[in-house]
């Protein structure tokens, strides 16, 4: 039977020759990731159900990445990292990226690929909804809760309903003023925050393959904002080069069979798309940036698993270089590796970090930071009724702190251009291109 990539991966992991959408299966898990916010609860579920002396199913397949509440004085947040430390010690887990050590990484979804934990054809689960980011490597990756993760820790498997696949095809190269964020915001605007509920979202077309791996991660990262179960992009040479540099573990590339059946296919021509914005208070409240020039801003934020990668900062620097920001602008690299790249990557001979400092931005240490609000002392958190434009992923009420704050989501180009003007700005005003 002809299957989609997602169906094939799930069939392999369920020990079946084929599976169909809607079927419930038990799948073996290759990697389970957890972090400081959901790890302690997951560990509690594991111990309660398997016993206080129980061992995890495979210590090499558990990856522990504290990243959410790191640079805070909150004692409970520190206590939670201690719970992770104790568990890692007791279980002898090798893949632990501890706070305050050379191994500290930052945002888990970017740390996972950087450290070689994302591989085509695998099943990766994480206690975080943006685990879907790893679908950019041609694997089945999705977010789960504490109970499911506790179950996986003990058994190495979990039940799934096989999802139908919605296909999104981007034709033609992505123009130089657009980013993956513009593409995915447009899709979410078109299908709604529930438009892909219970389904896989596959991205294809030469437009997608004209993007680097970090941009493809941005596409898959936000499928959860359309309700998607997983996002997936078939691996190409760019994917394989990235992965092989970072892992010695063998993997199998799986792609759609000819004749595989899809729920639907939507085709976009890249040159017709525009820099886009999701207005408060929903990621599907789409409008072109050029229509929002009257929106005055208090703050701009560039960071997170969605918009805090090296590619995102290179883009922001292209717009900011030599200009001064008009509003408080926060630069929060996702990981320590991204933070290091701000010193080594250059534009017109200047390091990205120098460009950000010259333009008046605050550069913070790598973590999830204000993307999800967090403890009151979190860098960049919206504590009042501020209006913020951000490269992050959600803008429901209260997402970045105060429920009276207003968050606009956009690409690093659009956020940087808007920071310079103090109002929402189409980045083509700085980068050129037809507006």
């Amino acid at each position: 039977m002809a299957m989609t990539m997602t169906e094939k991966i799930l069939a392999r992991h369920a020990g079946k020759t084929d599976v169909s959408p809607g079927e419930n299966i038990w799948a073996n898990v290759d990697v389970l990731m957890t972090h400081d916010v959901c790890g302690p609860g997951t560990i509690g579920v594991f111990k309660e159900n398997f016993g206080s002396q129980a061992k995890v199913w495979d210590r090499n397949k558990v990856v522990v990445i504290p990243d959410h509440y790191i640079f805070t004085a909150d004692k409970m947040a520190h206590r939670n990292v201690d719970v992770l430390r104790e568990f890692v010690r007791e279980q002898d887990i090798p893949h632990f990226y501890d706070v305050g050590t050379d191994k500290y990484k930052g945002v888990c979804h970017i740390a996972l690929p950087e450290e070689g934990h994302t591989r085509p054809g695998e099943v990766l689960l994480g206690t975080d909804s943006h685990t879907c980011t790893a679908g950019a490597f041609g694997e089945f990756a999705t977010g789960i809760g504490n109970t499911d993760a506790g179950f996986v820790l003990g058994t190495g498997k979990l039940w799934f309903k096989v999802p139908e696949t919605m296909r999104f095809v981007f034709e033609g190269e992505v123009p130089p003023y657009l980013m993956a964020k513009d593409l995915i915001l447009r899709i979410i605007g078109d299908i709604g925050v529930d438009g892909a509920t219970y389904r896989a979202m596959e991205f294809a077309g030469d437009g997608v393959y004209s993007l680097g791996i970090e941009e493809r991660m941005t596409l898959c990262n936000m499928v959860i904002e359309a309700g998607g179960k997983n996002g997936v992009i078939a691996p190409d040479q760019i994917t394989l080069e990235y992965v092989k540099k970072r892992t010695m573990i063998p993997f199998e590339v799986l792609k759609n069979d000819p004749g595989a059946r899809f729920h639907s296919t939507r085709t976009y021509r890249c040159f017709e798309l525009e820099p886009g914005v999701a207005r408060p208070h929903s990621p599907d409240n789409y409008a072109p940036a050029r229509e929002l020039g009257e929106v005055m801003l208090d703050r701009a934020y560039i960071g997170s698993c969605t918009g805090g990668k090296t590619t995102d900062f290179k883009a922001a620097a292209r717009v900011l270089n030599g200009n001064k920001v008009k509003v408080d602008t926060f630069i929060v690299p996702a990981t320590t590796q991204v933070a290091a790249s701000l010193k080594t990557e250059t534009l017109e001979g200047k390091a990205l970090e120098a460009i950000f400092q010259e333009s008046g931005c605050h550069v913070g240490p790598p973590s999830c930071a204000a993307c999800l609000g967090g403890p009151a002392d979190t860098l960049g958190r919206l504590n009042k009724s501020e209006v913020c434009i951000s490269t992050t992923n959600r803008n429901f009420p209260g997402r970045m702190g105060s429920k009276t704050a207003q968050v606009y989501l956009a690409s690093p180009y659009t956020v940087a251009a808007s920071a310079l003007r103090g109002r929402i700005t189409d980045p083509r005003e700085f980068l050129g291109g037809r507006a």
Partner: protein, 187 residues
């Protein structure tokens, strides 16, 4: 699983996401610790904007600020309930506040899974939207055998979608009890 859940109803609109159900600053609480789980309940639905809290009129806090507790057992909501993050703190906070059943047009996938696999609450879907037909504060009774919601205040009945595949997990109590029953843990 009991047959009847009776209690006061709290009504919410569409796309109630996990940040509104339990704001991120409270995620430092560990739901595996009983007193912290209880505390999560005191913050349930605290980020729902006031005008949308307790429909149709709004401005009805889910948690009474004087007592720190909720008087509601049933939530009726619109589409895509529980969208957003994977935090299991969301169904846990609702359950800790006393919610036993949610009745929504439909759910976001992870919230639905967490509710069922953790055995925190029963997530019913409805064949037609109910939000405009029920008011916050009305007394309701959900019959889990007959799959229907009765509004005791008015005597009206509303059909709920049968629970289908998730029923055996809810009947077992949670995914661990279910898997033990079906010997998945010993395979």
């Amino acid at each position: 699983m009991k047959k009847l859940v009776r209690g006061r109803i709290y009504v919410l609109g569409d796309d109630i996401d996990t940040d509104q159900i339990i704001p991120a600053q409270h995620l430092v609480l560990n739901p595996a610790i009983p007193e912290e789980k209880k505390k999560l309940g005191t913050f349930a639905l605290s980020s729902v904007p006031a005008e949308k809290a307790g429909l149709p009129r709004g401005h009805v806090p889910f948690i009474d600020p004087r007592t720190g507790s909720s008087i509601y057992s049933i939530i009726v909501a619109g589409k895509n309930f529980g969208c957003g993050s994977s935090r299991e703190h969301a169904p846990i906070a609702l359950a800790a506040a006393g919610i036993e059943v949610v009745v929504a047009d439909f759910y976001a996938r992870i919230f639905f899974r967490n509710s069922v696999n953790g055995g925190w609450l029963v997530p019913y879907e409805t064949p037609e939207p109910l939000v405009d037909r029920i008011e916050t504060g009305q007394e309701g009774e959900v019959d889990l055998h007959e799959n229907r919601l009765k509004i005791l205040t008015t005597g009206k009945f509303f059909a709920l979608r049968p629970l289908g595949d998730i029923l055996p997990i809810l009947e077992a109590g949670n995914v661990f009890a279910y898997a033990k029953r079906y010997a998945e843990l010993t395979k």
